[in-house]
Symmetry: C2
Subunit: 156 residues, 2 copies
Amino acid sequence: MTPGSGTLTYWLEMMRIDGCRLTKARRTIIEMVISNRYASTPQQLYDASRRIYPGIGLVTVYRTLEKLEQLGLVRRVHQGSGCNGFLLNEQGHNHLIICENCGRAEYFEGDDLQPLFEKVNQAHGFLVNQHWLQLSGLCSDCQKNISQDSLGQDNN
Amino acid sequence: MTPGSGTLTYWLEMMRIDGCRLTKARRTIIEMVISNRYASTPQQLYDASRRIYPGIGLVTVYRTLEKLEQLGLVRRVHQGSGCNGFLLNEQGHNHLIICENCGRAEYFEGDDLQPLFEKVNQAHGFLVNQHWLQLSGLCSDCQKNISQDSLGQDNN
DNA sequence: CTCCCTGCAAACTGTTTGCAAGTAC
DNA sequence: GTACTTGCAAACAGTTTGCAGGGAG
């Protein structure tokens, strides 16, 4: 029985299968990604990792994220003006909703898009083979906070 | 009667109303954007503009795109690893399909997403107020070309 | 013991800013 | 004539690469 796909053990196993060595740096970065509900920049992950493993380098974060992305364990998230966010990838949950106030990200199901693809094919001649749906709005916490105090901001 | 929203005259009028001066550089950049069915980087628009107006500077392209984006005449497109594409914005057509072979972009209608937003709200507590749907696939031309010659590539 | 991985420094790319000269109005 | 705009150069931020030392297996 394989461990759950969101666990550290599972990720380390995936890395091992791919022929990667399991170093302290990689372990730390993976833990940071797993325990994070927010799409984070390499710099943010670096800062967080350094609190646990001060010797780590930013370059290693970049290189580890690249590997994790190849393995499908992490995905790149586009938000606002930049696309430098990285987020835990949940298989089978392709769509994302991101809170525009606090930045929290959650995956959701909603794969009734097939009819739309066919409509687009008929109207434009495009053969759709990838889609990318991302919502943004307010998470439940931020809805409460904002209605209580319309000035209170608590970003990331 | 206002000129069509895709015309040079219309864009210049929008700029003028906003208090902008209508310079040769801006005119050239706008023409480049209008006549382009592809999401283009500032550098690409710069190269194209220089063929018409050799004296133009890359910085002016950046500054003009910023202004055009503020006015809603141009939108930023995220594709692949980067998000440095700019594209003519068509009002009321919020969704994009981009050909993954040649890069051609077209807008399409498909605003039956409201039920999905309500489902997401119930399941996750998020109040959705923006959405972003982008498809990628093959345009009709590229489908033909690829079936004729599976090696032929004609990027942008 | 071998080869992969790391961290540092430096190179590199894409974007923004300061400023004096130029130009639309 | 005035104020906005331009293009150059330089600053800046984010990312990638080269390389010698270090650590996993």
